[in-house]
Amino acid sequence: MLSFIVRRVLWLIPVLLVISLITFFLMLSVPGNPFEGSGEMPLPAATVERLRAHYGLDDPIFTQYVRYMRNVVLRWDLGPSYAGNRSVNEMVADGFPISATLGLLGLLVALSIGIPLGITSALNQNRAIDHFAMFFAMAGVSVPAMTLAPLMIWIFALNLGWLPVARWGTWQQAIMPAIILGLGPAAGLARLTRASMLQVIREDYIRTARAKGVPERQITIRHALKNALIPVITVLGPMFAGMVTGAVVVERIFAIPGMGGYFVGGVSSRDYPVIMGMVLVYTFFLVLSNLAVDLAYAWVDPRIRLDQR
């Protein structure tokens, strides 16, 4: 197990390096520079030159990359933003806790709807409740946050007045964003849990347990569910990655001041350090959650670590 963990953690280093390299070179290969502005009020040439020199944009790209990465690795410093006087670190410090809270709430919604739904479906295979649940699951996977958010705001905020329209801070304001973010993953989880559960309840050891006279309830929970949830763990990583997309949309629609807003803002104003910093933080986090999922998987199912190349 230890060598498995070490191997997995070491693999992160080249992945993060390559990703940061791709990001950096892609951005700096773009002609022009971020201080040219959109043409409305061009800065004087001398000012642009001074700014470029100040941020070290005239050095060779590779020098810039090494300098940037040294700051990131040694000092956890993601650099200054070109727009305004805030550092990327401050932006992350502001936005990350909010995005992470939203993400965790979404995950909670996904797990608490998806898994019970999948189990109920599997235990009532081919009955009406199963068909209904699976229809919901299929719809849930395909209805994007972009559709759901305006609809829910219209129904629950504008018509019924139960929930606030937007913004962030109170628990009422978190309800709609969390549900919208969690519903898609919930649907995916429901389908997977059902499939996995159906496979497990046909196993010999379930029949054995039943033959021994173990109560049905205990069979479902202790014998079937425990094993059925193992493959479900594997999708949690990609699922979390998918929620990042949803989060950007949800944050924008509900005017939630998370990382998504900073990222989109940085993209539209070509603020290299902001784009770079956000990509690094997002990627680092996603890779880390994938790692956690892999380790959890190897921990619950010993066959996995032995199988590794």
Binding site: V15, I19, M27, V30, T147, P150, A241, V249
Partner: protein, 312 residues
């Protein structure tokens, strides 16, 4: 000796029969056909040109001269929704096509050759796979939009100008397609590789080799056709995700160029007037969801039809 393809014929006919028995899949397929029809004949069906703004009729309510009302520039919502089908369907299907060809070729080659080739090819895929594809597409779009955008007009060569013009002609769709194609093949490649790895040990591949078939012929004629079923299913099931990606990019302002109508961009416009005119964000959202759902139903039906064993 004559080659016959009869036996494969019945497999596909069988699949079609099973597909037609699946009500949801038929409905999904039907809606997809209607959408294709709308996309092709949008100029004939739409009551107004999509970019025609009537500043005396901004935010007109649904009904009357404008069946679904008008947006903040007084443009007819219905016409824009109908035209929006074009972007979504083109990006969805072409994205799937690219993903299919690149993915299958890359994956089968990697799996077929195995060993060092496989190792090298799969490391590339592993890194790209770890890169959140959406972030990658966003970066690519930033690079494309600025490299080929209005800035630095004078310094560009004829090739760059030609591409920029083509993209402008397509309303900004070219780069969305390139961005999606560059990332979408990865999942398909992993899938094809896994299947090729297990198939290459099968007797019929050994037989083809023994009969003197070259690498290329073995891959194209013997290996690829046997991967087809599951991969087609996965490609169709991926169409909604490409449609969603386009909508997302246009939503955050990296997709189509205005005034080209894209549902994602329309939702973004609608959100700004959410309190007073919620329907402006809701209509394009519904169009988007209906399109994605139809492809999902169709893909699900295809999976059950092509591989009945999977159905539980």
């Amino acid at each position: 000796m004559k080659h016959t393809v009869k036996p494969t014929d019945s497999l596909w006919r069988d699949a079609v029969r099973r597909l037609l028995k699946n009500k949801l899949a038929v409905v999904g397929g039907g809606v997809v056909l209607i959408l294709v029809f709308i996309a092709i004949f949008a100029p004939l069906i739409a009551p107004y040109p999509y970019a025609e703004a009537d500043f005396t009729e901004t935010f007109a309510p649904p009904g009357g001269r404008f069946l679904l009302g008008t947006d903040f520039l007084g443009r007819d919502m219905l016409s824009r929704l109908l035209y929006g089908t074009r972007i979504s369907l083109t990006v969805g299907t072409l994205g799937a096509l690219f993903a299919f060809f690149i993915g299958v070729l890359y994956g089968t080659m990697s799996g077929y050759f195995g060993g060092k080739v496989d190792n090298a090819m799969m490391r590339v895929v592993d890194v790209l796979y770890a890169f959140p594809s959406l972030l990658f597409i966003i970066l690519l779009m930033v690079v494309f939009k600025t490299s080929f955008g209005a800035a630095g007009e004078a310094t560009r060569g004829p090739f760059v100008v030609a591409i920029a013009n083509l993209d402008r002609f397509l309303g900004g769709m070219l780069f969305i397609l390139i961005g999606i194609s560059l990332t979408s093949w990865i999942g398909i490649a992993r899938l094809s590789r896994g299947m090729a790895l297990s198939l290459r040990e099968m007797e019929f591949i050994q037989a083809a080799k023994a009969l003197g078939a070259g690498h290329w012929r073995t891959i194209v004629r013997h290996l690829a056709p046997n991967l087809l079923g599951p991969i087609i299913v996965n490609v169709v099931l991926a169409v909604p995700s490409f449609i969603a990606t386009e909508a997302f990019l246009s939503f955050i302002g990296l997709g189509v160029d205005p005034p080209t109508p894209s549902w994602g961009a329309m939702i973004q416009d609608g959100i700004r007037a959410m309190r007073s005119h919620p329907h402006l964000a809701i209509y394009p959202g519904i169009a988007l969801a209906v399109t994605m759902l139809s492809f999902a139903f169709l893909g699900d039906g295809l999976r059950d039809a092509l591989d009945p064993r999977l159905k539980q």
